[in-house]
Homo-oligomer: 334 residues x 2
DNA sequence: CTGAAAGCGCTTACAG
DNA sequence: CTGAAAGCGCTTACAG
């Protein structure tokens, strides 16, 4: 725990034969300090291997150099990519990122937020699992699952429009019996995508059956996706095409088809909202929406930075990332 | 940036009508404080919504409540899972995790380490890309790519033994022309796995040809894996079985086979060292080593915590996680 | 242009 | 059992 003592600003000042206040200003490039002195101080700092203590700086300046990101599962490709995009933006702005994992447990989410606040983060990016119910105490951007009118921003994908586009594409292939596999309709992605599906079914006058809608587990696990697919395939009039909501559901559905000896897309067509890792290398290559997780992370980070710099409080920004269909082969194209 | 002022310990002390020193001790459950007083202080703290400032605590106590993790690509499933495992252990120990992404650029790795040191992390977990060349200034555990005799610990998988096991399994299927697709032999995984392959080829008396060894890019990208596979398949006497080193190489190799109309495992058998996400749901399900990324992360974290608590300096622990073959279908079994 | 002093929010010897 | 004082490593009015 006790690393050998790092040199402090006082050490630098002593070596440069100036007051610590002067050393501090010199390293900050204050115009009030002579070039000569600055040179001496910089030299001394380099010689000692001086590294400013950001904790002390934050404490004194009363500004944060830390920001927190809270995700349901950092191990899931989807979230790790969002984190990657956000981290890049923060890093460019000299802000370090504290990552918290909640395993979708609301009480862990509350605890994570608590920890972040104790570290005096300047703000938070969160994909909530329902734990953060009250108005946040620091500027907060919600992503993936949004909470309207709360925090300083909301970023999610165009869930409704995206789902309609997917169903619409299957319809263009001549399908009118289209099944749906999604997450439980509790949070944003679960509800909005389901709504998109239902509206598309109505508008396109497709076969509208309750049992064409199957939910996977709250964890969006691949295996629950496979079981949902099996339930669809076991119906008397099974759907001839299926749209899945998450990256792992797509995988699960695909494997369930294989297990039944069904060919995709000939026996059953498949499209997915989220594009799983290597979705283009699957057999068949998966038709899905273009992945933009990193973009989502970058945007959420930019919104937060913007709010941190803003002087007056503003209405929370609400952004829905546009979606784009990537046609591959699982839908029946080619 | 300037959140409305959080209540401080002084506020709590005032509300409880005690000195701040007493308030501090009361919240630390010091035995020197009367139960009555503790009660009053706790009450006051709760009433005010007091949250200790960890930055101030760290500064005063001269102990870290932060730890850093440096990875080449947090977006890659492999690394995000290691981070997940490590984060869980640190969180249980009241330590928050700063995550840095290097994109495999040595200079970014150096900068990341610098940033972490400025935040006075207690220690670092790092999957180096070659940037951290000198003795680290804080306790450091190297993982994935190890640096012997440096830092307080090294954790990697049993690369050599694992590769031999994979080649051995293909040999049991009767193969003697076995190709290899791996990362460039620069760091641990690249070199040790290649050595394992070569030793196995020698010991099992397999066909030993230089062009049976193909390298993907430094980034271990799926596409470079596909190209490596194409080079193998284009040989006059192509290998009838291939072992890949990374999760994405396996994907790439599989897709290259499909593109050529080759069936796996009938036309060419395939096994992989790293198990990609959903490897069991691929067609065919991929024979690979059991994934233990989270375990690796947990172990690295435990080693670091151990070193942080240790009084005397010790020899760096060197751990090679045992591997276990998960036989599925791509090797030809069943 | 430079320095001495105060203070960010804590903890911990030192007294009593 | 409790409190006054010092100090962690910085920055920034305030003087000169």
């Amino acid at each position: 725990m006790e690393a050998e003592r790092q040199p402090t600003l006082a050490d630098v000042a002593r070596a440069a034969r100036v007051a610590t206040s002067t050393a501090s200003r010199a390293l900050q490039e204050s115009p009030r300090i002579s070039e000569m002195t600055k040179l001496r101080v910089r030299e001394a700092a380099r010689g000692l291997g001086y590294r400013p203590n950001r904790l002390a700086q934050s404490l004194r300046k009363q500004t944060a150099s830390l920001v927190g990101i809270v995700v349901p599962d950092i191990g899931a490709p989807f979230f790790s990519r969002v984190v990657k995009g956000a981290q890049a933006v923060f890093e460019q702005n000299g802000i370090a990122v504290l990552v918290m994992n909640t395993e979708r447990a609301p009480e862990r989410e509350v605890a994570a937020l608590q920890t972040l606040l104790e570290h005096r983060v300047g703000g938070v990016l969160i994909a909530t699992s329902g734990g953060s119910t009250s108005e946040p105490e620091v500027p907060t951007v919600y992503f993936d699952n949004i909470v309207l009118k709360r925090g300083v921003g909301n970023v999610t994908r165009a869930n409704h429009a995206g789902m309609r586009q997917l169903v619409g594409h299957l319809h263009e292939h001549g399908h009118d019996r289209i099944g749906y596999i999604g997450g439980p309709p509790l949070l944003t992605s679960g509800t909005e995508r389901l709504d998109g599906y239902r509206d598309a079914v109505r508008e396109l006058d497709l076969v509208d059956r309750d049992d064409y809608v199957q939910f996977g587990e709250q964890t969006w696990s691949a295996h629950s996706g496979a079981r949902a697919m099996e339930r669809l395939l076991a119906l008397v009039d099974p759907p001839a095409a299926v749209v899945t909501s998450g990256e792992s559901f797509a995988f699960g559905a695909l494997s369930a088809c294989r297990a039944r000896g069904l060919r995709v897309p000939d026996d059953v067509a498949l499209v997915s909202f989220d594009d799983p890792p290597f979705g283009d290398l699957l057999d068949p290559p998966l038709t899905a929406l273009r992945p933009n997780e990193e973009e989502m992370g970058r945007l959420a980070a930019v919104l937060l930075l913007h709010a941190l710099q803003a002087t007056a409080a503003q209405q929370p920004a609400e952004v829905r990332l546009p979606v784009e269909l990537v046609v591959r082969r699982s839908c029946g194209c080619q």
